[in-house]
Point group: C2
Chain length 219, copies 2
DNA sequence: TGATTTTGACAAGAAGAAATGTCAAAATCA
DNA sequence: TGATTTTGACATTTCTTCTTGTCAAAATCA
């Protein structure tokens, strides 16, 4: 399979060819892990998807687990980057918090493989992967923190840093997304977004967070 | 190993002996999955822990995955039952919501194997396990719903049923617990409980949920 | 006691995968 | 063109595991 892969090693430098192979393997890893799961995917299979052979696998990755770690890391990195962009360029007419929510929902719905890797395949594989997950979660929580700080100006950042509120919020989004994935993306995106928007609006109108803070949280 | 296991098959009926073996295997499964993980545990190992041989494994379980499913199911069942008991017998002087929170935190801290199976090992193994997880999560969300209904009397149950609030709440607890587990149960239990109590108190004082409801959520 | 059931130890087949190694063909370079 | 590098196919080795099967010893029953 993949017999007609172009092989020009003169025009393209060696280093670049290696990284192109690496990219192919990453894409194949997402495909394999995201559809058949980590345990259900063999290195040979992944190489087949990438149109490469095992030799090139071990050129870029120590083992299958290492590939999973890199795939996961890339997904988190992409998501966080998109999120940061949304937060920084407040140009969008949409509420930044809602724009974030939309980003997550749309990303996962449009590529369920991402959802599977991000939420299901990365857990309980090995201590190294657990560490990567821990780091990924930390980044996501950071994004949530920045989002709250943006959506509720005047919020005490120190408070956000210390409290479990942001972790809780991230967890809420997390489980809602997980269930949505498991339910096959039903109800449809727009319904979910409407509900989220309504909830956010009510939270604002109730002055929930600001009340909690200014009501003297630590007295 | 386990050479001195008592073997009286006359005094104890056949069916009972089978279920005793089954129980031993379930305990061994929790031990294995909860310390070395699902992928890192072999059937032979589990049998060794149970003091039984492979023949008896397949007497009670179709395969390793089946054992994981049963272990997980048992853990969820126990937790839910403890929770229901706390909720029904409102006798405890403690706030039922906090009693629930305490139950979860204490259970996981006192037996981290439970935490590992419940939160990490059960994901991404197979469609059958995913289904079990889905059902387990559903039950947990149900408990959260009942807790909120108890803690905030006058709450519109229909609203709770329909909204994503309960899922979000369950997710919040979920991730907070996961991180706590991953951080090696630091900060200590009492700190976590204090923070949770403070948060709950503030939510009450802000009249958050009731405001959201009575403010006309669906207008 | 002698027969029978249950049990534990272990063999062994079947299967699959991880990771490394070999080698000739294809592509490229000089 | 001829030499060299890169590449793909595949063999191989070494494991590991699941799962079934065999068989004698121990416990029990009649």
């Amino acid at each position: 399979m993949a017999r007609d892969v172009k092989r020009k090693y003169g025009g393209i430098g060696a280093g670049r060819r290696v990284s192109e192979r690496r990219a192919k393997l990453l894409a194949a890893g997402l495909q394999a892990f995201g559809t058949k799961g980590f345990a259900g995917s063999s290195v040979k299979e992944i190489c087949g998807l990438a149109g490469l052979t095992e030799r090139y696998f071990y050129e870029s990755f120590a083992n299958k687990e290492d590939l999973l770690r890199c795939v996961y890391h890339g997904l988190v990195e992409d998501l966080v980057q998109s999120a940061e962009q949304i937060l920084k360029s407040g140009g969008s007419r949409e509420d930044p918090a809602m724009a974030l929510v939309r980003l997550f929902f749309e990303t996962l719905r449009d590529d369920p493989r991402i959802a599977r890797v991000l939420y299901f395949e990365v857990l309980g594989v090995s201590p190294a992967i657990d560490a990567a997950y821990r780091e990924g979660t930390r980044k996501m929580i950071q994004v949530v923190k920045e989002t709250v700080a943006t959506a509720f100006p005047g919020m005490d950042e120190q408070f956000l840093e210390r409290s479990i509120i942001t972790t809780g919020l991230a967890g809420a989004v997390n489980l809602i997304l997980m269930r949505w994935v498991l339910e096959g993306f039903s109800p449809p995106l727009e319904t979910m977004l409407d509900e989220a928007a309504l909830l956010l609006e009510k939270v604002r109108r109730a002055g929930f967070l600001t009340r909690i803070i200014h009501d003297g949280f630590r007295d």
